[in-house]
């Protein structure tokens, strides 16, 4: 079910130490809710991304447990503190066991 899943993340390229930055994430995914029916009246099985995490250099920023009420192409916007240069790691966990990962470097001056 997980076709054409593509994460998109927006993180500033650089920041000052301790600066608060805004992160936006979007991942293309049907998020089939398990409530819809096909043309024959059969329920289409649930198939969603059920968890999202954002870490910076191994320290957690945000973890979201997601239910089928999250819209198609799940979007999150949130704020992080960057103490040093490093890497943001974004991870999405699919119902079907797939895991999608995206990383972004940030330079702290």
């Amino acid at each position: 079910m997980a076709d054409n899943v593509k994460p998109r993340v927006r993180v500033p390229r650089d920041a000052t130490a301790g600066e608060v930055i805004t992160i936006k994430t979007l991942i293309s995914h049907n998020m089939e809710s398990g409530q819809r029916r096909d043309d024959d009246g059969n329920i289409i099985p649930r198939s969603i991304i059920n968890r999202f995490t954002c870490d910076f250099n191994g320290v957690n920023v945000l973890e979201v447990a997601m239910e089928p009420a999250i819209s198609t192409n799940p979007f999150f916007e949130f704020q992080a503190t960057v103490p040093e240069s490093g890497t943001f790691t974004f991870t999405w966990y699919d119902d079907d066991g797939d895991v999608y990962t995206e990383t972004k470097e940030i330079t702290v001056s």
Partner: protein, 121 residues
Amino acid sequence: VAVLPVQATAAVDEAIAAFTGGAEMGSEGITLIAPEIAENGNTVPIEVNAPGAEAIFIVAAGNPTPGVATFNFGPLAAAQSGSTRIRLAGTQDVIAIARMPDGSFVKASQEVKVTIGGCGG
């Protein structure tokens, strides 16, 4: 005006109790921003903010399954806030509940009028 069936309200109470353990909820220190009117229930932008919270639980009281998402904030979260887009089956209350570090809970809710429901079918 949608009147919730008895099971639906029970499911909402259950979902909330699973998060709060049945604790009393205050109303200060949490904000929930949602549109008063959403033309398309498939994608309704919402924003929650509860300074200092450990976690924020979002419930759509009128959906077939009320739970929407739980935000758990880590040490590098600069603010205990977040935005996302949610599905609403029809006009209903959206509820946000935050768990504070001292174990207390605070709640905010807002009614969203939905023109086209977002659960298909």
